[in-house]
Symmetry: T
């Protein structure tokens, strides 16, 4: 069975508690559950992680290199500041999907630039928890050679 890593960055552990007008009322556990359900439908196995430490995200991406076939990443605030994550994604060379719960382009200017995007296969933002589900579908298609090569 094919494994994909779903990696979550800083402050996402507070989801549901934090600024619900921006991020909604779902908790990260709720999102994990939705991801597992969707993955099951798609025949994928999910490793689901969260950390507030940039370097641990780098470690998890490295770990995915040997254990998984693809990555879905919501790097949170590190999206906008981390060259290290950019390099990690380039280094492991797995198809990666960047996701965000909110539409980052409607928010502060410092959230409009992403170091993840140029290292990602595709980007999905603004759909709340569904962003993750859509990303799983997209990734499944790529892994099945049905998506855009």
């Amino acid at each position: 069975m094919t494994t994909v890593y779903i990696l979550n960055g800083p402050n996402l552990n507070l989801l549901g508690l934090r600024e619900p007008e921006i991020y909604g009322h779902d908790t990260l556990a709720g999102i994990e559950a939705r991801c597992r359900a969707k993955a099951k439908q798609l025949g994928l196995e999910v490793v689901f992680r969260q950390t507030n430490v940039e370097g641990e995200l780098v470690n998890q991406i490295h770990e995915a290199r040997e254990k998984a076939k693809g990555i879905i990443i919501n790097a949170g605030a590190y999206t906008h500041t981390s060259v290290a994550l950019h390099d990690a994604l380039r280094a492991v060379a797995l198809p990666a999907i960047e996701v965000h719960l909110s539409n980052v382009y409607r928010r502060e200017a410092f959230r409009h630039h992403s170091y993840i995007s140029p290292a990602a296969h595709g980007v999905i933002c603004g759909f709340g928890p569904q962003s993750y589900e859509l990303a799983l579908e997209g990734l499944a298609a790529i892994l099945n050679n049905k998506g855009k090569a």
Copy 2:
């Protein structure tokens, strides 16, 4: 039955013929077919349009205001230069999903800014024709009140 408008901007009529290393080998007709199939599954009706004229895209968005419940828009090059499309989307106040075939963030710097994004509900890019299918799913969820409000 719920109608959604799928609007396509300049040069997308040449799809499949134009720079396949960036845009893939699918034609716009092929994408339309995939959209209609996916929409049928989701219980949606699709109006599918393409134009090279910025003002006609504005007109089509206005038309959607009375005839549809949501918009999926790939504004092509006008994404990066059109305040008029931004205003049109704001004016009609329908949920709109911005899609791109390619991951625009991997391309020239002038493609990294979008006037569509801050007027859209969500953004999906980099999945080739599947970008449209994912957008339809996302839009369906919003219309069914299942997505992020």
Copy 3:
């Protein structure tokens, strides 16, 4: 009798329907009526147009060159992006007044620059539909040689 062209750009056809907290509740038809009334007082004939297509605005400016003595233009979103309108106004060399319903300087930064202003005789913004009436007065004075030469 002296004719003036009053030209309206993209999305102004939705006036009254669109974001009334910014643009007010007047419709474009209402503004046209107010303009015709004011023009009558001033002894001017009005040609009143609206289009969503940038190039048609260019055409209408060209048309004014032979049929009118002055132009009032609310170029909407094209104000901020159109060198073509700038050039058209320069080319026809009629006195032109730039108008806006809202005070554009209180809005997004991308609305603070106008390509119309340096090609216009004067600018009036922020008075809602009255902006057009004031522009007609200003234009009448110019045409009567009573305003600033």
Copy 4:
């Protein structure tokens, strides 16, 4: 009877003497006379001031707070550099109209930005002394609740 303050900033005392190719041949006294005549028609009383000191302009705006219902301000060079005037207008919260004799957008780049505009109700420029008359009409309509609320 309703009073409005008409405030004039630095160098406007030299009007008619100074660079007539930009500012015309009218003197400030001539403009004051035109303003008084127009105000009379509109049923308004005018307090007309000029000063070269930024802080005195601030003082005059504060004075208007208790003595007037609206402000017309040509802040001259301080338009482009004075956060203090911006704050003063915000603080007194009267409807204020920014006027300029010349079309500032046809001149040096440092005249294209105004700290007054985002604190003003509307802006009128390029009509010479008539700019003030149009501003009085605009202000009268606002005070009569006939203009845009």
Copy 5:
């Protein structure tokens, strides 16, 4: 016989009438006549078009894709603002020559950047109507494999 498209953008229809100190006294009809004469010498057939609508220029470039072997384009004001024309030229992949009547680098700063140039084979500006003739020669050489590959 080899056909080339000569495409003209906004305001060029007013040539000879508009700002002759910048654009000269030649009309667009005069330029067309000079182009046809020069093309005849070079054994080329010319399709000569003008439009004020950006999207129609896109359409004409697309049309050239099937009907011509090369393009000469004076996109006027759209030169500086149109990503859509950039993409259209890239999409049709014909040799294209960018021409301007005036030396755009001696004019306003906003005319110094061209979205056409990076999608063109070569650029010629500043020679008035002769710019077109030189472009025809250059294009003929490219089509005859005599120019730089």
Copy 6:
């Protein structure tokens, strides 16, 4: 007989040897031969020079002031950095044509600005050695008063 100076800047002596994928396989001697042939047709005499020293280019432009009626200049890398060449061309006040072998607008950003262009009559780039021949034609027309005055 009318003389024109054709001046070549740094590294052009290596032409044909240097990065042929950008500059082609022609040598500078080959270009000189093509220029002399074309000049003969046009009834012009050519002085053809190359130097790697910025100040010598200045000297050669000064020399042209007394000995020639026009200048064709490919200033190579100094195009982008030399105010001295700009001033020299302004000072001698001869019609000057800027040429480049490659289309500089397709290359690094630092090659997109030219100090030569605002001091030149016209610009031709991207046609390989033919750029020089087209420049000679353009210059001949100017000198014969047939081009744009």
Copy 7:
């Protein structure tokens, strides 16, 4: 007894009346009273001033040079635009504390830069009237050699 000058810039005279959602409901007289009470505790004498004129603030800083041992300054809008105040503080070489009622970094971008800060010993902002009391404590410690030298 040690004297400190507490200097207040433009529009602070309107405190309590002006935008209370930003500046709170305290009046400047109320702040003065709190300062005098706190100063008494600290064994300091206070000279408390307010002016809307930039140059008078400069004069007051100069006056402090001979009459005081330290300065607390809320330069209001001049904070962001006045090199003259910067120079005055440098010139008198007394320890100076910059205070603001609001947290200026949460407001418009033009309030994020201060010409006062690099000429000040320390900065305190966001605590409303308490900002002044904390500044007095900080200044007292400096004057008693207990703070950071």
Copy 8:
């Protein structure tokens, strides 16, 4: 008893050892002692932490959310680069005071921007260890509802 978290970022463990001409001779233990003494006076309990890892600072802020009523943070170098800390402070929604030992506005330009400030209630810098004491006073007042709401 009310608890406040005092959090210290990278390199502050070296305090007293590191560049004393900028940071003074106090050690972090010395500052902790002064904080505890001042907190005791104010009836506050203090949790005092230092870490060099950005993500651990995020964790500590999260921890404060359940265990404390307010935060004092000297994020050191992360002040200028960490969107993650900005988001963490926003997420926990406790009153937070940003402190710095030195006046950061007198130092390198890259220290003039803070991601902490717009997420903080107030900012205090330049008072050496006393910055922390003043912050405790300010925070106590906020928690006692005596400060600016």
Copy 9:
């Protein structure tokens, strides 16, 4: 006898007391004495003024318009921020010399731009009090028609 105004801006009254390593040990009175001595040699009468208020500098320039034939101005900090002084100098249209004691180009970046310079005939900086003497010589020559017209 010909009169010239020598105008001095903010903080120059502290000269000799303020930062002598930058401004030297001369007082403003000393400079006035040197100016009067030099003016006597040149057959000029001097009016010598200093003020810390920008608007008073504007007033003094206006006064010079009727009472003097030339202006020497050291606008101090207002050099870098005052459009009003720029306009005043333009308005009175007397030859004006900008002077500075220090070489402003060796100091902070915000001192490198001058609004005075484009409105002045010439600029002299870096010679301490002698800057004024050289300016008097330069102005004398202009008034005697011996300098550059």
Copy 10:
């Protein structure tokens, strides 16, 4: 025996596996071996570390303060974003050499700025693993007082 710390930042653990066209085929273990061999020749002892966590790099630099006489650091992606590493190097005040395997100036623009460089003694980049060997030589010379003081 003199100890030097050789510190390696994020993603360098993947060396040899990651983008060999940029970083070469050597592994980090191979580089460590080459360093140990070179150090032995130079009479130096080496502590060789790698971490993906920015704050751990800070910790290791602090550790070197007591245990080593010099530092060689390849901070990888943190080079371009970490003020914390800059401060750590400043704080420990040991001679530090910045190394990179690739020539960072030939890569993306965001790799052209280094926060490490202004805190380092010297910089060596582009020599692959040999960069480390050269750095060891350079550091040995500094420690032997033979290099530039």
Copy 11:
């Protein structure tokens, strides 16, 4: 007798011939004569040079190091582009005066920055040939220890 070098950069050999509306009608020989006359009065010997080659200006500055006590330099266009001249002036450490015939701050923006100024003692511009004479006076005073140290 004390020697000073007066060095002139590119295009100054054309003085009197070149753009007299900017540079006046004096020739460089005329300026040299005026300099020699003034120098004689001041008891100085003059070496007067002109070159169009940047590196020769560097050589002449180096030469002055051994043969002169001061430098007056009009580096012409190299003023704005030459770090090499900046370094040369720094290296020889003689008092240097930067002169310009025209007021460079009234001209194109690229002439507003000088690499010479921060390496010079003072700057004089806008007085035509008299700029040199004033510079000689200024330099004489410095050498006589009468000017600002």
Copy 12:
């Protein structure tokens, strides 16, 4: 025997005499001697040159194309301004090492950008004369195919 060119740019002839606190006390002759000694060890022959003329540096690079296998270049001030040197290095396509005596990243901002770096194999700076020795070692390894390919 393999020859390498060591090229030195402007002002390096003054080494040892010029600002020793930046460049050290070594003369260029001393550096040449150290280079020759080191080259001998490495089995390389050295051609060692210095010039103050940018174009001569270009000539010397061209000369190396036929006579040498590699280049070490300290272009001094031209490092930051010369596109011509960039192009020359690209043109000759020899391995080139950029060296600097000082750590340029600790100095003025205009020294932080190098046109040489993207055309070089590697960069070494900050080691004083040893920078050249390390460059020779690096170059030797490249020529022996031992360095990074």
